[in-house]
């Protein structure tokens, strides 16, 4: 009797203890309940803030959320997404499981892998969002896979990006269409090209693109790095870079800090060929008066690396319901079409046109792309992101080889 009582009371106790946690954790399946809970919440949205266009877009989304759902959104401006990851980690270290300072984080790739691997994420929730159906994940596996890591509903797709090259058509007639041509081109156009230094995201992407093109077999790149094979698989890449670097701007003795610096160099005429991870960057640069109007974009003939970036909710977020409402709104046809407008953000949509109503499709069709923007057809073949292990291994190997002399 006494023992049973203890058992019952401890079960009651467990329920009582679980209750507050329960209340703070919304059930993604019950969307009406999520909306009710979200009303009045403040969502701290941690997102890289290096692009004023994206910042303005987030400010617009915040206004929409306030008027549509009564959710307040504050953009926490990061200069590096890793800051947000570090913050959530520090909170976990301190045992802060309920009062996190990050509600929604713009993330993908190795940052997502780190967070998922260290149980820093809330979920699964993403596939329960009403608008998730619009991405048609069954026919677009990249919506459920982030750098080969299974998403499993721990983050919701937001934007699409793809590596493109751009050049000044006033001075360059035939830009190189693959890595071998790039090497030849730099040999006759010395100092006219450079790429951002890894581990800057764009620089690392250039390495991966080069490796995908140059590797004898790309299959191992989609598995975790096997140290025994790393040398032999990457040998063609280093051979290529050893030959390329002396032909780069500053003879490869200094590399730009990111895509914007490349754009600046292009605008100043220091280089005449550059790369970007946003197919609309060249167009935005022309509109903003940073690039000459003769700049044009293209994708390498064999296709280029593309990925989807996502929104994730940390395990200790305080406004999980509000964060879900925001993620769902950013996935709506209205928000995605607004982001697609080159005057606004110019980002390719993650939605599948087949899943949209005629009315929703019309939102996209009414938008006119600029002269330097590539149409979906011209973007061609998208190469899948290698396993996140490779990003890390390539970055470290690059720094080891070229980071210090």
């Amino acid at each position: 009797m006494h023992r049973r009582l203890t058992g019952v009371s401890s079960a009651v106790l467990a329920c009582l203890l679980a209750l507050p946690a329960f209340a703070a954790t919304p059930e993604p399946d019950d969307w009406e309940q999520v909306l009710r809970e979200a009303r009045g919440q403040t969502v701290y949205f941690d997102a890289w803030a290096g692009d004023p266009q994206i910042n303005s877009y987030i400010a617009w989304a915040a206004q929409q959320l306030q008027s549509l759902y009564g959710v307040e959104v504050t953009h926490v401006k990061l200069s590096d997404t890793a800051e947000g990851v570090s913050r959530v980690l520090a909170e976990k270290l301190a045992g802060n499981v309920q009062e996190g300072t990050v509600d929604l984080l713009w993330v993908n790739g190795e940052n997502f892998a780190t967070m998922k691997g260290n149980d820093l994420l809330f979920g699964p929730w993403a596939e329960q969002l009403p608008n998730f159906a619009l991405v048609d994940a069954d026919n677009h596996p990249e919506m459920r896979e982030d750098f080969t890591i299974a998403v499993e509903g721990y983050e919701s797709p937001w934007t699409r990006a793809q590596l493109v090259f751009y050049y000044d058509s006033a001075t360059v007639e035939n830009p190189p269409r693959n890595m071998r041509e790039l090497l030849q081109w730099t040999q006759s156009n010395r100092g006219q090209f450079t790429y951002p230094r890894p581990p800057v995201f764009l620089g690392s992407t250039f390495l991966k693109q080069a490796l995908l093109e140059l590797a004898v077999d790309s299959a191992p790149l989609y598995r975790p790095v096997d140290q025994a094979q790393f040398e032999s698989i990457t040998a063609p890449l280093w051979e290529f870079l050893d030959a390329l670097h002396p032909q780069l701007l500053r003879a490869g003795r200094s590399f730009p800090g990111g895509g914007t610096e490349l754009r600046r160099m292009m605008g100043d005429g220091e280089i005449s060929l550059a790369l970007s991870f946003s197919p609309s960057e060249a167009n935005a640069g022309i509109v903003a008066g940073e690039l000459p109007p003769t700049v044009r974009s293209y994708v390498p003939s064999g296709g280029s690396i593309g990925n989807v970036s996502f929104l994730a909710i940390p395990f200790n977020a305080q406004a999980k319901a509000g964060a879900m409402v925001l993620a769902n709104f950013l996935l709506s046809a209205q928000a995605q079409a607004y982001a697609y407008d080159p005057e606004v953000m110019g980002s390719a949509t993650v939605l599948s046109m087949e899943m949209l109503s005629a009315q929703q499709r019309a939102l996209f069709e009414s938008i006119e792309a600029g002269p330097a923007t590539l149409s979906p057809e011209a973007l061609g073949n998208t190469l899948r992101e290698p396993h996140p292990d490779w990003m890390d291994a390539l970055e470290r190997a690059w720094v080891e080889r070229y980071g210090a002399r």
């Binding site: 401006k77 270290l93 892998a113 230094r197 701007l249 200094s254 590399f255 100043d268 000459p292 002399r405």
Partner: protein, 570 residues
């Protein structure tokens, strides 16, 4: 009776030094401990439970580490050496001249430009595609595209050192100008001159030996800052490899959490490098003293006078010119539309960058102002309390007060990350109050440094006179000392505001990014912004300190229109 009344007041003020030390030392010590334990592998939540040296092994295996350390060390020595020499030569060559009076007025606005803004200005000026090259191309060199030369981000960090020197010259000048009156340079020079020494030489031989001990601490602060700077290094410093401080920051932010241990080890190494730079500087001090004595003992009175005078004026003049040119480059870029390379000026002008920034400025500006004003007020009150308690005790504070300068000498990255973990453990919500507290840690030493000498050298006879008239210590403080010291108090406040406004890591990390300030916005946008955007935010960042210094300059003149001697340093 009066005595009995004054006693409790004295006890209250007497506690001030202890309070200040606790406010300063506790966070630094706690932060250091929580940063440095992981260096030896201790961070249980990440599975580090055994003490180990493997992370140091990993640290030392980092490619290019030796070079990073060398550049940090070099910047830490080159910056004070050149900045101090130029400041002393300048003062020696211009003592009592109109040029010196001009410089006194220029010091404040130059000091007001935050480090990051000044660094961007320098980069926009001297980069291969910068303003200077545009002005001389193609007329002088026939170039139609920017030359492919490595100027900014050079391998040895020379541009970075130049940027630091330009910023530290006004700081050391201000400190020297504040300290000079108490050693009565005119009398010293007059004696030397009566022995036949030329003026510049006389100043160097008689004033410098007395002046240097008084500005030694500011010089050490310059060494610590230059050897561990993050923002200037990110903008102007080498990146193949980075300087040590930047490497540490990147390890702390690495998504691979194991690098936190390496980062902690790196932070410890950074502390070592800074200490090493300070120790080497002690050697340079002795060497300088030895050379100086030899120079004096030679008894040479006349030769080289012109060279000494010109080198100081040329050096400081160049630094001022480059600073002003940098601000000009920022201004032009902030209004520039598309600007083809060899064109001297932009082909099109636009106010779009400004209008967009001004649309977003309300919240960051309000936060920046609130943080700067509140923390400055607290800092001034605390520093005044410490100095007043010293006055009433009738003697200099104990040597333990030297700990006050700890936050100046310990590199920020060596304790800030630990401090964040500490605030997490204490469950202090990251809000504006916490940010104000964090700023206070960095502002207190500078405020003390700026105000202490003026306070101590105030003629004690004013207070004695008031006391003989029956005024209580508090009345003396409010009615005599404070009004007499208004100008230096306002200068100290302006310095404190400038320090507060320029804090990046302390605002972004301690505030969990929820307290956007002008500086955090500027840095976030700089990570991807165009030249125009960077220029606008750098200028906005410089605006508040400028206003602070302008007020510090004009308020005493306004209030003491009829009290010529109370208008401060001009």
């Amino acid at each position: 009776m009066a005595h009995a009344k004054a006693l409790p007041a004295n006890i209250g003020v007497g506690l001030a030094p202890v309070l200040v030390l606790v406010v300063l030392i506790a966070p630094v010590a706690l932060g250091l401990a929580l940063t440095l334990l992981p260096a030896f592998g201790y961070l249980p939540v990440l599975g580090g439970e055994r003490l180990t040296l493997t992370y140091f092994a990993q640290l030392f295996a980092t490619p290019g580490l030796a070079h990073s350390v060398a550049v940090s060390l070099m910047a830490g020595l080159l910056t004070p050496l050149l900045a101090l020499s130029l400041v002393l030569l300048f003062l020696a060559g211009t003592a009592g001249t109109r040029l010196e009076r001009w410089m006194r007025r220029l010091v404040a606005p130059l000091l007001a430009i935050p480090h990051a803004a000044a660094a961007f200005g320098l980069a926009f000026l001297i980069a291969p595609s910068g303003l200077f090259m545009r002005l001389i191309s193609p007329e002088l060199n026939g170039l139609s595209s920017p030359p492919d030369v490595l100027i900014v981000n050079d391998y040895w960090g020379l541009t970075m050192s130049a940027g630091l020197i330009i910023k530290e010259i006004p700081f050391l000048l201000l400190m020297a100008l504040a300290a000079l009156p108490q050693i009565e340079p005119e009398k010293r020079v007059a004696i030397a001159r009566s022995l036949g020494y030329r003026p510049c030489r006389a100043w160097l031989m008689t004033v410098v030996p007395a002046l240097y001990p008084l500005i030694r601490l500011p010089v050490y602060a310059v060494i610590a800052f230059a050897s561990a700077t993050v923002d200037v290094s990110l903008i102007l410093g080498p990146n193949l490899p980075y300087t040590l401080s930047v490497m540490v920051l990147q390890w702390f932010n690495d998504p691979d959490l194991n690098y936190r241990f390496v980062a902690a080890a790196g932070a410890l190494l950074q502390l070592g490098v800074t200490i090493c730079a300070l120790l080497l500087w002690r050697l340079i001090e002795s060497l300088g003293a030895w050379l100086g004595r030899r120079w004096i003992n030679r008894g040479e009175r006349r030769s080289g006078e012109a060279l000494l005078r010109v080198s100081g004026q040329l050096g400081v003049g160049l630094a001022v010119l480059v600073s002003v040119g940098g601000v000009l480059a920022l201004l032009i870029n902030s209004f520039a539309g598309f600007w083809r390379f060899p064109d001297n000026l932009p082909g099109a002008w636009t106010t779009q960058t400004w209008s967009r920034a001004l649309g977003e400025i309300a919240q960051p500006l309000a936060n920046t102002l609130l943080i700067a004003l509140v923390s400055t007020a607290i800092a001034i009150v605390m520093v005044l309390a410490v100095l007043e308690s010293e006055q009433r005790a009738g003697r200099r504070l104990s040597p333990s007060m030297l700990l006050l300068y700890l936050p100046l000498l310990v590199p920020q990255i060596a304790f800030l990350f630990g401090l964040i973990v500490a605030t997490e453990f204490l469950r202090w919500a990251p809000d504006i109050k916490l940010v104000i507290f964090a700023h206070l840690i960095f502002m207190l030493p500078y405020t003390f440094l700026t105000l202490a000498e003026a306070y101590r050298r105030l003629d004690p006879r004013w207070s004695q006179l008031a006391a003989t008239l029956g005024a209580s210590p508090w009345r003396i403080f409010w009615r005599v000392r404070l009004p007499l010291l208004l100008a230096p108090c306002l200068t100290a406040a302006a310095v404190a505001i400038a320090v507060s406004v320029s804090q990046y890591l302390a605002t972004q990390l301690i505030g969990a990014g929820r307290v956007p300030s002008l500086t955090t916005e500027a840095v976030a946008l700089a990570s991807g912004g165009s030249r125009g955007i960077i220029a606008v935010w750098a200028l906005l960042q410089a605006l508040i300190p400028m206003l602070g210094f302008a007020l510090a300059l004009f308020l005493p003149r306004l209030l003491w229109r009829n009290r010529r001697g109370m208008r401060g340093l001009n």
